[in-house]
Amino acid sequence: MRAITLVPGTAEGEVFVMAEPLSFWGGLDPATGAIIDRWHPQCGTVLTGKVVVMERGRGSSSGSSVLAEAIRAGTAPAAIVMLTRDAIVTLGALVGRELYGKDCPVVMAAAADWPALTAAGRLTVAAGAEPAEIEIGL
């Protein structure tokens, strides 16, 4: 299926569907890759290496710094698939890529594909020049 590239890169991994929007600032520990927002229903889950499927972002613009720091530390998600454009997530992943040469592609999927994406076990994201390709794995 096709998607819009927000941050280029290629990645493959197990799907993690975010039950509620997460503010990376105060919500993600870049040292461990774990969700640390005590009010988030998936608090404690480690996002490292996962293809994170989240409708939208939330919270402080310092979330960009936290995501870039997670990419530097090697604790970041493998890729992020969203339903909306999100400047905070986009910037964090882009800075991580520019500074450290590490990919954490961010793509915006079509609403029609959302049910299939959230039900998938694994996803491959190939985000180059538009459009990006998302492939559902087993």
């Binding site: 927000l6 941050v7 600032w25 105060g26 870049p30 402080s60 613009s61 310092s62 960009s64 710094s65 936290v66 870039a68 720091e69 990419i71 530097r72 530390a73 454009r85 999100d86 400047a87 905070i88 986009t90 910037l91 964090g92 882009l94 800075v95 991580g96 520019e98 500074l99 450290y100």
Partner: protein, 419 residues
């Protein structure tokens, strides 16, 4: 979608103005695409929040720009950092974190930023003019610049703030455009608690309600007290941007884009009207405290956002009253402010009186963000709705909210005193 770029934007993107400008313009264009901005516009100034340390990546980003000769192209002020560079001994946190935080602040100075280190740059000589297109970060500064001054900025934050300073450009979308500055919610203050003699608590209560109930919608507020000052509006915006994502409000008769309600609504109809009674305001203010009257305090903290000269002017007679009859604060009393305001305080000869009253003046940073307050064994009291909102989570403390006069009286008593 494609962002329409000027010839200069394209030249910068192609590296004609050096690698740092190319790097910053590339991020700027990607950001503009992500927010679907059709084009960029010149920024008159920038305000940077990225000098607060969030990890190695914060520092790597600035060092990368510096290594490629990066310099800011427009007047650029700096928000608070992690430490007080003037009084480094006040920092009692992890030393490694302290030195990385200090380096991050100095690296921004090397980029050509003004070492203002204040979250209230709008109350310094660097205040932007009405109608100016600006690229500002820090939620309270954004809402003040938009609402109280009528300058125009979107909600910028880490990384993109410095890209704006280095390129001198901002995405031309959202609150940069007149039609997106229209109020869609009317907030009517129907009654004021007669026992509140200052507009401060009223404005904090209204700001909190707007944050929770309006989200990022723009409110037009009717019925604030006639005595409302610029500092009261600063407090209103700061708590609104903490409890919600308020980036612009209009206060009818008080802020420049709202001479009348019709002007604030740009002739349109509101989609919602929120009415607030005196009881609503009392309830909201009570809800800001996590502890009741009489609770033992270990500190009182003022100046979130940073104290202005006018706020010091209101504080001085209260401190004199506290000192008369041999009184002294029973607990630590902190005031956060910026270097420039502190110079003015010194010029007026107030520093000795602050020292005599045992006040610790914190510059460059803020007590709600970093390890400054020595004794946190009891609750902390503040007159700031923003501090009340964040401190319980950031510092894991109990908080009491009261007016400025209540805060000084409580500092003397060592426990929460409410008038």
């Amino acid at each position: 979608m494609t962002v329409e770029l000027s010839d200069r934007d394209r030249a910068m993107l192609a590296g004609a103005e050096g690698e740092a400008a190319r790097f910053a313009m590339n991020l700027m264009v990607r950001f503009a695409e992500a927010v679907e901005a059709p084009s960029l516009v010149d920024a008159e100034c920038a305000h940077i929040d990225g000098c607060l340390y969030h990890g190695q990546a914060s520092l790597d980003f600035v060092e990368h720009l510096l290594a490629f000769g990066g310099r800011v192209r427009v007047p650029t002020t700096l928000n608070v950092g992690s430490v007080d560079l003037i009084h480094p001994e006040l920092f009692i946190g992890d030393p490694g974190l302290g030195s990385a935080g200090a380096r991050l602040m100095r690296a921004h100075e090397e980029m050509g930023c003004i070492p203002s280190f204040t979250c209230a740059p709008y109350q310094t000589i660097h205040r932007p003019r009405f109608g100016a297109q600006i690229g500002w970060a820090e939620s309270n500064a954004i809402v003040f610049a938009n609402s109280v001054i009528g300058a125009r900025t979107e909600r910028y934050g880490d990384f993109i703030d410095l890209c704006c300073a280095v390129t001198g450009r901002v995405p031309y979308y959202g609150l940069h455009l007149t039609e997106n500055r229209r109020a869609t919610v009317v907030v009517e203050v129907e009654g004021l608690p007669p026992e509140w003699d200052a507009a401060g608590p009223v404005c904090v209560a209204v700001g909190h309600v707007i944050g929770r109930r309006c989200g990022d919608r723009i409110a037009a507020i009717v019925g604030l007290p006639a005595t409302t000052t610029e500092d009261d509006l600063k407090a209103l915006g700061a708590v609104g941007a903490s409890a919600g994502s308020v980036a612009l409000f209009h206060a009818v008769g008080l802020t420049p884009e709202a001479p009348t309600l019709e002007a604030a609504l740009q002739g349109g109809r509101p989609e919602e009207t929120i009415r607030l009674t005196a009881d609503d305001l009392r309830r909201t203010v009570r809800g800001l405290s996590t502890v009741p009257e009489g609770t033992r305090l270990s500190a009182v903290s003022l100046g979130t956002p940073h104290f202005s000269l006018a706020e010091f002017e209101r504080l001085m007679p209260l401190l004199d009253g506290l000192l008369s009859g041999g009184g002294r604060p029973a607990v630590d009393l902190y005031v956060n402010t910026g270097r420039e305001v502190m110079e003015e305080v010194r010029a007026r000869g107030w520093e000795d009186r602050l020292n005599a009253a045992g006040v610790t003046v914190v510059l460059d940073t803020c007590t709600y963000l970093t390890a400054i307050m020595r004794d946190l064994s009891g609750a902390v009291m503040t007159n700031s709705g923003k501090m009340a909102y964040y401190a319980p989570g950031n510092l894991d403390i109990e908080i009491a909210f009261g007016s400025l006069a209540d805060c000084v009286a409580s500092a003397r008593a060592g426990k929460v005193v409410l008038s």
